[in-house]
Amino acid sequence: MSQKARIAQGGRIDRSRTIRFTFDGKRYEGHPGDTLASALLANGVHLVGRSFKYHRPRGFLSAGSEEPNGLVQLEMGGGRTDPNFKATQIELFDGLVAESQNRKGSLRYDRNAVNDRLAHFLPAGFYYKTFKWPAAFWTKVYEPRIRAAAGLGKAPTAPDPDRYLHRHVWTDVLVVGAGPAGLAAALAAARTGARVILCDEQPEVGGSLLSESGRGITVDEVAPDAWLERAKAELGQHPELTVLTRTTCFGYYDHNYLGLLEKVTDHLADPPPDLPRQRLWRVRAKQVVLATGAIERPLVFPDNDRPGIMLASAARTYLNRFGVLVGREVVVCTSDDSAYDAALDLQGAGAKVTVVDQRHTPIGERVVHAQTAGITILRGQGPVGSQGRFRVAQLHVQALDEAGRPIMGRVQALSCDAVLMCGGWNPTVHLFSQSRGKLRWDEGLAAFVPGEGMQEERSAGACRGSWTLAEALVEGLAAGTEAAVAAGFEAHPTPAPAVREPVLGPHQPVWLLEGDRAGQRAWVDFQNDVTAKDLKLANREGFRSIEHVKRYTTNGMATDQGKTSNVTGLAIVAENLSRPIPEIGTTTFRPPYTPTTFGAFAGPSRGDLFDPVRRTPMHGWAERQGAVFEDVGLWKRAWYFPKPGEDMHAAVERECRAVRNAVGMFDATTLGKIDIQGKDGAEFLNRIYTNAWSKLGIGKCRYGLMLREDGMVFDDGVTTRIGEQHFHMTTTTGGAAGVLAWLESWLQTEWPELQVYLTSVTEQWAVIALQGPKARDVLQAVLTRGDISKEALPHLSMTEAEVAGIPARIFRISFTGELGFEVNVPASYGEIVTDALHRAGQPFGITPYGTEAMHVLRAEKGYIIVGQETDGTVTPQDLGMDWAVSKQKDFLGKRSLSRPDMLSPDRKQLVGLLPVDPKLVPGEGAQIVESPKPKLPAKMIGHVTSSYHSASLGRSFALALLSGGRARHGQRLWVSHGDGTAEVEVTAPVFIDPEGARLHG
């Protein structure tokens, strides 16, 4: 029959229902409430994995998130594949499919197991010592082989079909861990009326109580189970108490900010599509109670890694929680009383149990119980070896001296099918450590416990080394109450529970048991195959800091992050170097506590929600005109408007020609706009622009350059005086937000005396640029109020008018060198006015043009684009824009312009380039050199910033930044092109209408 290791009754599984699952292609049965691990063990499957390096056969070490061995690949199809899942954490569901990992061939006959035979040649860090010769072989031969052997599961190769969400929440008290301490804390806090969140990684609350047989324990006169039911019932009665199960607190960040991962649908056979797979909670807690329990320590003895050798607490969990008896002939090896619970429970379930106690005179009450129950106890003895290929069959034990060293001589072989280890317990201090808390080594407990805290948190129960249930409940109650009070609530008087439980005897750790046989290996880190010998080697080779040892041996760096290996490793190193444990150092724990899904961190920020997609009000209109769009910052901008059969080049030529010969229309909405009001507006502009503003008349516009204090151009635009105390500033599209922030910082922190208010109005206005000799005719045709005649509205002036019945601000501005207007209308009317202008423009051959044509047109005229002609290293002089730089007044960045290097004649200056071959268009970014075939490394004297074919020039042309460029006009130089160079002539950076006749037309 299947599930042969399942006992008749008991446990928290639902025997009334049977569910089927598949492991390595073989079908098995289990019950709701099982984990994959418990179900496999119920079916007598102990061999479940292979270790990372030596590919040793491995079984489950634990029943929880500390599991190093029982890792599987979950294969649910449709992109749902998950490597390295701990079978101990996978809730069983119908149709679950899992595969074992890191094997070549079958799990039983893994061809890579040969590594185990070669183990002698593969000590810690062996790869640093070899594979160096011949050099090329590393990348080509050795490394690929090492990589193929390394890694565990397989990464997904298809996109993830699931969704992930985030949730921000503020709480008065966050309680991490829903064991007895956590439950007591959460209830105590909730009773005060505080907002409380209680989270636990398990599917139900209860923690250690879920694995408790209850033998000899009562809480307030009832069995632990009954107490748990009571507590659960009360949880439901507090409206401000949120219980999050299947939720791991993985990170404790600064200022009491914690990250929780809730597994919403991972346990479901077919998840509802509207639910996220996982939810990442970002919790800001006034107070935190850590009730994270403790993790049992394995014993480090030769061949301690065979399937069937597991933690005593795990065996107890499998029995009491899942109704699985992990062995019928069981040896319990311990240096601590707690393992006697396992011994008693398993014996009670029908197993033949022998206890091997490293302690010579264990005195705890449980020991007495075991004795009375007739369990054989071998005192002062310890395990020194084991036998059994795919499952342990024999355990070798030997007498120990007072210091815990094996006394050479007779080795006794105990036959068995399971070995339960207990090397004491490690408080789960990970989150406390993440919170910046300092850990303290407690010699009495032989464990690291929370020392000085750094944030608003407190620990309760086993996670601070309080092992008994009584302590857990009392400390939990106190911690919950204190936390709520600290959060500003009034304590709710609750009497401490009365607990009866067996008295604990002292724990005496034996960190390392070594037999006398040479070549024996005792595992410390099971998954990464780090043995006590490796630690010795590291120490011998001069690695003394625990961080060095970790990195050299990889101890504690496996997917369990050393939950079962860090402290034992530390202790063994301390013994090797005969120094006290604290001197060797502790490991600082960092997030996450357990591996956390990338997708959960990214949350909804995928595709359209990765970054906002900003569209102008004319976007739809442009789409209907067949526009192709480009990304500019967050904006989508019309790039060009291809007609059927046109490529980009053809479209752009047509658009440019239209602007030069007739009229074009362009969506300039994305330009930043800042409204400036207050009596000191002009003075403010004087300080932030390089030129002077005081004398600018009302209704007049002026171009301005902004510099950072280092003298480099960082934005430009046209600003208009709308009223005596009212200006309208425009900035670059990409610069908009940055410029406003920059201006505000100067106003608020440096010049608070200036009476100026700034408001972003970028999105208040839709802006349509009409450019070309026919621009006025078109605009006139739809002008319903106002005067745009040459006289009334000369170049660089503004008027309030009405276009197609819509109130508009019309600016006479040109970024093309042609007669130009920029029509600003309330944003939502952008499409209506665009449409009106487009229709009115038909007789004039109006042509919508995009950013590419705009770039060509302005370049022909020698107008710069910040970010294209400039790159944060360019001054106004470099651009030949001294005309825009005031000699009289000070302005931001001015002083930097007189630093020696700013004056040097070899600075890169803006020039024009005319390729000798008029069809050849140099690449933007091409470098300029002084010879056609320069010797490498070549002297580069500049680079091409803009480069196009010009319809109106009938040839290619470019703008460039060229060292000493203004003195080089007329020179022949070469630009890098393809694999060679192309010859160009240096010219002034203006190619059409230098005297500006068209502009003022």
Partner: protein, 93 residues
């Protein structure tokens, strides 16, 4: 993620704020009168202290006000917050 107390809006998530670096760097009255070195000191040189630090924050996605905070750069604990115009005292309070 830091918890920052805006003097006007109270405690808010760091993601609502923009950091402005070292506080109290006053722009020279007459830059033209400064040596290149002195000007460089103003533009580029920073205390970058290990310990108490006066820094500027802007509640960019809130009230938009710039203010000064005193923070220990080792513990990242804030010692105090000050609206523009109010100077922290020697003790950083």
């Amino acid at each position: 993620m830091l918890l920052i107390t805006c003097p006007h809006c109270g405690p808010r998530a760091e993601t609502e704020f923009r950091n402005g670096g070292e506080a109290g760097i006053v722009r020279p009255r007459d830059p033209a009168a400064l040596s290149d070195g002195a000007w460089t000191g103003y533009v580029f040189t920073r205390q970058n202290p290990k310990g108490r630090f006066h820094e500027r924050w802007c509640h960019a996605q809130g009230c938009g006000r710039w203010f000064t905070a005193v923070r220990d750069t080792v513990t990242d604990r804030f010692l105090s917050f000050h609206p523009a115009g109010e100077q922290p005292d020697e003790a950083g309070r």
